[in-house]
Symmetry: C2
Subunit: 433 residues, 2 copies
């Protein structure tokens, strides 16, 4: 029996209840922190030998030479060639749409010239090397390979190094095929904190990268947060979330299934429906209970909906937007007649799915925008993964002799004000007599 | 006596020596980690009371009510009105140039429409609230207030909340004046890990922000890295660095002073000169030794240059660029005849100062680009602080009925491939008969 929490915005305790519903502590236990720290140190110190030992131990493998852990490009191509036509076509169409969308994100260098000839600007360059973590086993998602690798390629990253664990030597053919389509440059079958360490520090065999992206379990996430600074990382993802705002005119079965599509990810996923129509909230609840039995992942859905799901009754659209902006959801569906009218009030959301036809699942696979999105209220300050995550900027300053002379006077005053004499002197040398 | 390391690119051990020279471990000691963790918990639990207690203890103050820690806007304006005209003019000119440059960074929302009427795009919005940390005491830099606050204002951030410790109740008038010029919205005289905690979690008096930026000591940096996820943060800055590439035709005194201008920041700062002209490297060393005695911060400069400084002899410009790209310096001066010719080979640098006239110090204060720049090789994957750090993106997907029907077929295949039935069903509902 599905029984999500029911909140009413006019209740005195509403905001406190909402905050409690959203509470999420991503902090790893001390034991995990210590384990991961030791593993990072071991790989940093012993390189390949440590990676090999951890891989044999945790993935139950018996590999003697780290070279055996590299998957040659021909093996990726073979996986692609052996796919059923329908799957290959779907993956290729998805890749094409993701590529087209992300090309709009590419940023270009710019400059401007001032009256005295001084040039100011910004030079945009891609990262050299990027590491892509792909989980193995049951959570192996080919769509995730496309979503992480394609923006990097669009940015112009020279080399993408993918790591994916192969527990008991098991490989996922769809993941390998996706790596072929996304033109991943190297693949190693290593995973866990040891794979993150190898990419961050480099080993005799695994190249050091400049940034590590991609989802992983708590050991992977902890390792990523610990190597941040040595390399860049993407966001540390929390459980998946969907917020649906509905006017009560969409088929309740559609909305119920949209809520399930997040809930089936894992027991901690969060599905929330907001409507000003109290009767509709009940209809969706009825639909959910009817549809549940045909879901292969019914147990996961049930736990997620009953522990963290909610139906929220609001009085109007302004209030719906206010609640939404507090939640700052990863996925937001505006399942209403005129989503364009509500859009300007939405300040914080990872991805916004507009209208009754735009199921969130379309965005997970093939609409074009990235499915790597900010979770746990971080859409307040961060963005979907994009080409901009694989480009960086260098400021350009090219002063003319006149420009340096004028700026030198201002710099000198401010540097003396801060007690930095060498700064002042360095500027003053360029002041004309 | 200044005696920086001398490296020659043709030496067999060159790259190993270079890596050793650049090695930098930012890891905080366990004791600091534990102290900061306890402080964060205390502020998260007890709010104002904890902030007040830590402030009285660490800043040697005797404040009874947290309201006394807020500086009213009139006090900021008073600091500005009382400044000597020369300083006020310099700060205002600097602010104006920083504002003009950063306006070029502002990103705009975009959309495109596909043949079947499906709309895809990206909506850009500013962050709501930003916290700005400003160090107190001897390292109080008004330029830093401008460089952090102005990009946020240009992005459209509604509220900037500045925190600055007032040890022994001492306030820096230039810092307050800069806050007035940058139109900071609220100022609290609190600092340390307790200030970071107050901004990250919010207290009865200090509003919760969405992102915290600004430099600080090891306690502040550790606190920022620990609250990352709850709020956004800027980069954790390491010691300042400059790399000068010179053809040997710039006045050696100018280059010596440019190297000093980083070295005077602190004992851990790093100043490196690269030239294909061995005689010039000696000339700069001679200049440095002659100029040192007139530097008020001679002891700091001496430690920095002798511990972490270097003169590097290379054989040509390609090699200079290669070494530069490995270092990925925070500040790069191309003090050469034709910097435009070398620029395309420079892939990694925070800010590039082109030509003999463009002293790095001009960029610290008033050229326009930001002086908050990636350090410790992080220019390989990150960028100067900019307007883009105070904007975030939401993906937009608005499928037409036809678009949803077509995309639904692809999503269904891929979702079944990943074993996610609710995803598939949600997409299939939108497929037309």
């Amino acid at each position: 029996m599905l029984n999500p929490q029911y909140l009413t915005s006019t209740d005195a305790g509403f905001w406190a209840q909402l905050k409690k519903l959203l509470a999420w502590d991503a902090q790893a236990e001390d034991e995990i922190l210590n384990t991961v720290r030791d593993m990072l140190r071991a790989v940093s110190k012993s390189g390949d030998a440590a990676v090999l030992e951890y891989t044999n131990r945790f993935d139950r493998r018996d590999v003697q030479d780290i070279a055996e852990l590299e998957i040659p490009p021909a093996r990726l191509q073979q996986a692609l060639d052996n796919l059923p036509a329908e799957q290959r076509q779907a993956l290729e169409l998805s890749a094409q749409r993701v590529r087209t969308y992300h090309q709009h994100q590419k940023q270009e260098s710019w400059r401007y010239t001032e009256a005295d000839g001084t040039v100011l600007g910004q030079q945009i360059t891609p990262l050299d090397k990027v590491g892509l973590y792909v989980p193995g086993g049951k959570a192996a998602y080919p769509s995730s390979v496309l979503m992480n690798a394609i923006p990097a390629k669009v940015a112009g990253v020279a080399e993408i190094i993918m790591v994916v664990p192969a527990p008991d030597s098991h490989l996922n053919e769809l993941v390998l095929a996706a790596a072929a389509i996304a033109e991943v440059d190297k693949v190693f079958t290593i995973g866990g904190a040891q794979a993150v360490a190898a990419l961050a520090y480099g080993t005799e065999t695994v190249p050091q990268v400049d940034k590590i992206v991609g989802p992983g379990n708590i050991f992977v996430a902890t390792a990523k947060s610990m190597v941040f600074g040595t390399v860049g990382i993407d966001m540390i993802a929390g459980p998946s979330e969907i917020l649906v705002i509905c006017d009560g005119k969409t088929d309740p079965d559609w909305i119920a299934m949209d809520l399930f599509s997040q809930a089936e990810h894992d027991e901690l996923a969060q599905s929330i429906l907001i409507s000003p129509d109290a009767a509709f909230l009940e209809q969706v609840k009825t639909s959910m209970n009817r549809l549940l039995e045909n879901m292969p992942r019914a147990e996961i859905i049930k736990t997620a909906i009953n522990d963290r799901g909610a139906l929220i009754h609001v009085k109007d659209w302004d209030e719906a937007a206010e609640v939404c902006n507090h939640i700052a959801p990863e996925h937001l569906e505006l399942s209403i007649a005129d989503p364009e009218a509500l859009l300007p009030k939405i300040r914080h959301a990872g991805a916004i799915f507009m209208g009754r036809y735009t199921a969130e699942a379309l965005g997970d696979y093939c609409a074009g925008p990235n499915h790597v999105l900010p979770t746990s209220r971080s859409a307040r300050f961060s963005s979907p993964l994009g080409v901009y995550d694989f480009q960086k900027r260098s400021s350009l300053i090219y002063c003319s002799a006149d420009g340096a002379s004028e700026l030198g006077k201002t710099a000198s005053v401010l540097a003396h004000g801060e007690g930095l004499t060498a700064h002042a002197r360095s500027a003053e040398y360029r002041i004309k007599e």
